[in-house]
Point group: C2
Chain length 243, copies 2
């Protein structure tokens, strides 16, 4: 048992939960390593949503709200960390929720779909085909889901898949704590924030934004600015530590 007064209680509970999910197969071992990377960058962000990330999350909502076919692509880490937040976002955005895994097995897909469903999400399932120009299992998605989407939200995505989706002409929204990552730099829009903090902001904005506000946010979208602001935040944190 983790003592409640431990200075890193929340972080330790999350780690233990992810490890349980790794034992049950929902999270891959590589997913645990990826979580550690995220932890380090979140530490540098002060573990809270910056004003800039908040603005990026609202812009993400505008993209989802104005999409013809928005799809939320869920992997093992996202499901383990944020299944209820995904269900909530689906309700306010009307997006399809589709499971796409880097380390894909039919059993893992089923487990993650079950987890999402028990959190209240409706999962867009069915036969996945090799439709993305990527080797191995990462090329799989569903023809009427991610493949047909015009806007895809990919929390915690791999750089290659993010790049391919952009090349296919889709608007890709990433949630990524590393503003230097390939994903963050290739996405149409990157929300540099922790996934359980970012998703509710996006979900609430989907309900609250007017159509006009959506248009304004999209017209002003410049992902480089969001990435710079995140880098500046981290730089300020390092400078504080140097004082």
């Amino acid at each position: 048992m983790i003592p409640r007064d431990h200075p890193r209680y929340g972080s330790l509970v999350t780690r233990e939960h992810l490890a349980d999910c790794a034992r049950s197969g929902i999270v891959s071992w590589e997913g645990l390593i990826a979580h550690g990377r995220g932890e380090a960058f979140d530490y540098l962000l002060g573990e809270k949503t910056s004003e800039s990330a908040y603005h990026a999350a609202k812009t993400a909502a505008a993209l989802l709200r104005t999409a013809r076919l928005p799809v939320i692509s869920v992997n093992g880490n996202t499901a383990a960390l944020a299944a209820p937040q995904i269900a909530h976002l689906q309700k306010t955005s009307g997006a399809l929720v589709e499971v796409n895994l880097f380390h894909r097995t039919p059993d893992r897909v089923r487990q993650i779909e079950d987890l999402l469903q028990s959190a209240g999400a409706e999962v867009f399932s069915g036969e996945a085909e090799r439709l993305l120009p990527l080797a191995h299992d990462r090329g799989f998605c569903r023809r009427d889901g991610m493949y047909a989407a015009d806007v895809v939200l990919v929390p915690l995505e791999d750089g290659d898949r993010c790049g391919v989706l952009v090349e296919m002409g889709k608007k890709v929204i990433a949630i990524d704590l590393n503003p230097l990552s390939r994903t963050a730099n290739m996405a149409t829009l990157t929300v540099v924030d922790e996934v359980t903090r970012a998703l509710p902001v996006i979900a609430d904005a989907c309900s609250l934004l007017t159509d006009q506000e959506c248009q304004h946010l999209i017209a002003a979208l410049d992902n480089k600015v969001f990435l710079r602001e995140a880098l500046n935040k981290m730089k300020a944190r390092l400078c504080d530590a140097l004082d």
Copy 2:
């Protein structure tokens, strides 16, 4: 198989190796998350040994060389990542190599000892006793090993154990990629570098340093300076990305 031309090939191969080691029990799931944290900080360091880290590694060699009883404490991640480098350092430093685990089971200890031995290290084994004032398995070490040591090298150590060893009057050398961590800030000397890069530098310096050079390095040791230089390096990396 990871394609050789992948921009992150080295990093992906290491991750896959660690995941294999987690499956076989050598690496704990917390070890995987910890590796991810390290990756993030190494990324900010540009994934190479800085001049300052090189100097810290030489100072580490000076401490080991002049010790009465130097001990290298090895955990699962260190063994999985750097067993041959540990064996090499043992040869040039004459230190005892002892396995100490945060998540200790007799089976894990045996597996890690076997791995070190097959890489050419001589492992100081035998009965571990609860000799450190720490709860649970973390309080275990060997009476004639870490407990009796005057200088302990702890690559990738937990903050609590590092603190206790310092309080017991030992000189503690940490290898830690996070200059903000409790370990990095409590150690006598912190080499802010990736473990497979740092260990060979320490090992070679153990062979090459004269006694007088050892004395000079130890007299000049100020860990705060090494930590500041690492933070400055990371800051510079963020500033470059901002340009």
